[in-house]
Symmetry: C2
Subunit: 80 residues, 2 copies
Amino acid sequence: MGIAAGIFTATSMLPQVIKTLKEKEAEDVSPVMLIVLITGIALWVFYGILRNDIPIMATNGFSLILNLFMLYLRWKYRKS
Amino acid sequence: MGIAAGIFTATSMLPQVIKTLKEKEAEDVSPVMLIVLITGIALWVFYGILRNDIPIMATNGFSLILNLFMLYLRWKYRKS
């Protein structure tokens, strides 16, 4: 159950990344949301390292990369 | 550390909700992202109930309500 929950929450940003890459529009996506989320996920990765918990490290590590890429897309497709 | 991480990830959708309420635009937000995320968070709530873990229940319960509201906003401000 925990693993299934982790997979869903870790991969949830994937459809957003795909949509943004297709449409080259991300103006309605909140950059503050992404920054708060990235901060939280980075803390989860640290927590996983401290507890030596591989599943927490792996799912959040994946999620961290995905969300950093989404933040880059949000910046790339901003309207000045 | 786990509590801080949980607070950041649970509240991250709040700036998105505020931005959407202000601008009445959410076309660039992926509804698939929201549905996958809501599924994952609902599984975390179940996991918290099964493990009788109050922090997991509380943070994910809050997050579930917030994301369901965001999904409603995404539907409300869709362009037909």
